[in-house]
Symmetry: C2
Subunit: 233 residues, 2 copies
């Protein structure tokens, strides 16, 4: 969340030097830069936000729109001089949810040279808590059918090892404000309960008939291509 | 500036206990709560902003709209359950400036039971750097003619003892961003170069023919009435 930069444009370079090279413009609600996807009224990218995006472009920090609202997303895509990403989202075409992205939103980012990371968070997938790796592969394929297979990757949004307090925090505005969403019992994706289960994902891709080229791209090559464009050499 | 609260609603009470009992909703530009008067597009009060204003009302912190934009001002006036204030502003009816307030804006706040503190910052007065105490009294009288003499007070905005770096900071977005305004050479109000010169102000009020009752109200009684309504006993 760019609110971590506070009121300091110079913090972009400092944090980048410390390793923070992917930052969301806003997280769920409003900050001084833009608005999140649960904000009642999205006022769009602010004047300060424009300067912050320019600095992120200049320093080489990937601009992430995952939890950002629609008006702010449009403003950022128009304004950013480097490709942007929705690093972790699921398609609203399969499950309607404020955190999921419509075909129009996914296409806007992709048409601007951007990247879509597909999340495996079960609440955002079509079958909800019953979802397994095969549902996740279906969601990735939905996005591929929309924007092609060269700008899509894995964006797990894994919450492995987090406790109830963590989920209380992320489901409230800035942790202390109004409740934004109720995920119910948060379950891991079936057959992908831990990050060590990546081989199950590969197997599900093969089972769905994906060519090796597509699997390699989605599992990593597309991410590398994106980061080569955005991060400094 | 409410951005000092960061993302912490609980900071309102903490800071109030430490003596911070007048806080601007926004300062010149956008923050996570609202937008300032130099922001290109004022998105209004955010969802978090509503919760913050409610907390300020509950704790007893005066909501200040001096550097706040028009849309945000309207939203805050509608939302706040306690009287709000523009603690330091001059009337746009005498000098057109983004920081000055139109008759409509002054009336909106007053009609809601709020308060107007009139600033003596020369750049905001009709005769600019040539202004003296008599111009300041004229500005106060303009506001009195608009909203009566019971909701108006002195809001010096004195910058006595500040250096060039201070003025560089306050004329740029969050100190580090774009330049917002150029005040030229900042001069003190003639005959009110220091806070010790209050007697000159009283004399100028008398010279203009103000009754003792009006002078007492403007010099302090109205402020006391306001703070009695807003601050806890």
């Amino acid at each position: 969340n760019s609110s971590g930069y506070g009121d300091h444009l110079e913090a972009v370079r400092l944090f980048a030097d410390l390793g923070i090279r992917i930052v969301q413009v806003a997280y769920n609600t409003a900050n001084s830069v833009a608005c999140g996807c649960y904000e009642t009224k999205d006022g769009g990218l602010t004047d300060f936000g424009r300067e912050l995006i320019a600095e992120m472009n200049a320093v080489g920090v990937l601009v992430d729109l995952s939890h950002v609202g629609w008006k702010s997303t449009q403003d950022v895509v128009s304004w950013s001089k480097k490709p942007v990403a929705i690093t972790h989202c699921a398609p609203a075409g399969l499950k309607n949810h404020p955190r999921n992205k419509t075909d129009e939103q996914l296409k806007l980012v992709a048409d601007a040279g951007g990247f879509i990371g597909v999340t495996m968070f079960p609440a955002f997938l079509a079958r909800g808590p019953k979802s397994g790796v095969e549902d996740y592969v279906e969601a990735i394929e939905y996005v591929i059918n929309l924007i092609g297979e060269e700008q899509v990757g894995v964006g797990t949004d894994s919450t492995q090892g987090h406790d109830a307090e963590f989920f209380r925090w992320i489901t409230h505005d800035k942790g202390c404000g109004r409740k934004l969403v109720d995920f119910g019992d948060v379950l891991e994706l079936r057959d992908f309960e831990r990050l060590g289960k990546f081989p199950n994902l590969t197997a599900a891709m093969e089972k769905r008939g994906w060519a090796a080229r597509r699997i390699e791209r989605v599992l990593g090559q597309n991410w590398i291509s994106l980061l080569r464009q955005v991060w400094p050499a």
